[in-house]
Each structure stands twice: as C-alpha cells, then as structure tokens.
C-alpha cells in the first residue's frame, strides 16, 4: 500500500514537473486536483495549509510538494515527491541550457517563448482561483485578499510582512 502511494506520488509529480510552465504557482491547480479531488490524500483545508506553510518557509515555493509528500507517506514521501517534482525539469533545464544559446535569434525560439507566456498566465490565475475558494470564506478574508492584491501590484513590499499581518488577523479571528 505504502509503495503504491510512493509510486503515485512519483508518477503524478514527475509528469507535472514537465508541464508546469510558470513554476510552482502554475502547478497549484493540478496539485490540488490530484491531492484533493483524485487521490483524496488531503482535505481542501490541508492543501491550503500546506500552501501557506510553503509560502512562509524560506526557499522556492515548490517545496509545497515536500509537504504534500510528507503528509501522504512520511519522510520517504517527502523525498520522493521532491525528487519527482524537481528531477525531470532539472534534466530538461540542464540539457536546454547547453544548446539554447545557439538559437538565440531563431524565430521558433522566440515563438515558443512568447507563446508560453499566456498559458502560464492562465494557469497562475487558476491557482489564485482554486486557493481563493478554500481561503476566502468570509468578507474579511476576501477583503484581505483584495487589499493584498493591490499592495502586491503597487509596491515591492516583502511578502513576509503581509503574511505576518494577515496571520495575525487570522489568529485574532477576523478571517
């Protein structure tokens, strides 16, 4: 049973690794779909919690997969999920980095770069949508999201300040 869990973790995240154009933020909806809807590894709430923990931890946000992996199968799960999510894309990055410079001016390269931007944009917007559904349960939470969006858009504030404040609002029972 446990081996099956590890295999599923590896299979899903390794595949996702190759399609997550736009990084961790673009991969959130698919992670949510698999972990909550398809595999029932965790509740909607636990997924949102994992996302929040990954946001406040140092390092790349993609370490949400480490949290999901740990939740599913302990330390082996954490290791397998992390390696599956980073391995395939790292190999691609390594191979592409060696040849990419040669095609700097190539028309197909410019088309690929320009063509992938709107796809990642749609995926990141989908992340916001999926997470908003589990986080914004009342009007104050929705207002917090709206205000943070404005602040994030207009300033270059360190997100940790925003998280400290919103965490405090949550703690005191506003959200």
């Amino acid at each position: 049973m446990k081996d099956n869990q590890l295999l599923s973790l590896f299979g899903y995240f390794a595949l996702l690794s190759l399609f997550a154009v736009g990084g961790a933020n673009a991969a959130i909806p698919e992670m949510h779909r698999i972990a909550v809807e398809v595999m029932h590894w965790m509740s909607d709430r636990q997924f949102a919690d994992s996302f929040a923990i990954a946001q406040v931890s140092p390092g790349p946000n993609i370490i949400i997969v480490t949290l999901i992996g740990y939740h599913v199968a302990g330390l082996p799960g954490a290791a397998v999920a992390t390696i599956a999510m980073c391995g395939p894309s790292c190999i691609v990055a390594f191979l592409v980095a060696r040849t990419w410079d040669r095609f700097k001016e190539a028309r197909w390269r410019i088309a690929i770069q320009a063509g992938l931007v709107p796809v990642s944009l749609g995926l990141i917007a989908a992340s916001a949508f999926v997470l908003a559904r589990s986080a914004d349960h009342n009007i104050y939470a929705a207002i917090t999201t709206g205000l943070t969006a404005l602040v994030g858009f207009a300033t270059r504030i360190n997100p940790l300040w925003v998280f400290a404040l919103s965490g405090l609002l949550g703690l005191t029972g506003w959200l």
């Binding site: 779909r33 949102a48 993609i62 390594f94 969006a149 404005l150 919103s166």
Partner: protein, 140 residues
C-alpha cells in the same frame, strides 16, 4: 557571468517547465561547472529549505488540528492569494494592453480549462501550448 548572460539564464528558466528558481540554479550552475556545478547549485538552493520545511511538515502533522494554527494559516493563504492575483495582474497588463488578440484568449482558455472545468493540466497544456506557439509564430 555578465549581466546579459544572467538575464538570458533568467529568461530561460522562466519558461522552462518546472520550478523557475530551481531551473535557474541548474542553468546557472551548469555554466560554471557542468553537471557538478548544476548539482552543487541545486543542493545549495534546496538543501537548507528542505530541512526547514521537513521540520515544519512534522510540526504540522503533530499540531495541524490546533484551531489557532489553522486560523493563522488561513489568514496567510488569504494574503498569499492576493499576491498571486498581483502577479497575474502584472503579467496580464502588457498582454492585454498592447493588443487584444490571441494571447488573452489563450490565457482565458487555460484558466477556464484548469480552474472551472478542472481538466488535467497536461491535457490543457498539450492542446493550448501548440496553438499559442503557432499564433506567436504567425503574428510575428
């Protein structure tokens, strides 16, 4: 590394699949020392955060049911969603402002497919990415 090379490596890691910062560390490290350089850069980037997040995972497994912790995390998620919306707005601004053509349509289609229809991401990607790249090819 010159500033130009840095920008180039950065742009490359933005649109490669997978985690951007992780990609960047691989591209960056491989410029200096091939496979070994990439491995060292990756280990340096991921090592310490992985230890911290594993400890957090253990704490969450132990204390995740505490109502207090849950309330803090829900507050953080509400704000983090706001920051995601800000990222979307920043990315969308140039796309929607300069020309209302295929690009916003692709973004909206990707959003509907993944967020509303809840189709698998690889499926949505395999359908939309070639269309989008073809559009970029034709309109240039």
């Amino acid at each position: 590394m010159t500033p130009e090379e840095f920008n180039e490596a950065f742009a490359l890691s933005q649109f490669l699949p997978g985690p951007n910062v992780v990609n960047f560390s691989v591209v960056f490290g491989s410029r200096f020392g091939g496979v070994a350089g990439a491995a060292v850069a990756l280990a340096g980037l991921m090592g310490p955060p992985l230890i911290i997040v594993t400890i957090l995972a253990m704490l969450y497994a132990r204390f995740g049911d505490l109502e207090m912790l849950g309330r803090i995390l829900i507050g953080i998620t509400a704000a983090a969603v706001g920051l995601l919306i800000a990222v979307v707005a920043k990315m969308a601004a140039p796309l929607f402002r300069t020309r209302w053509d295929w690009a916003p349509l692709i973004a909206i289609a990707a959003f509907i497919g993944v967020a509303i229809m809840q189709w698998p991401l690889p499926l949505v990607f395999v359908v939309l990415a070639p269309i989008s790249v073809a559009c970029a090819w034709v309109t240039r």
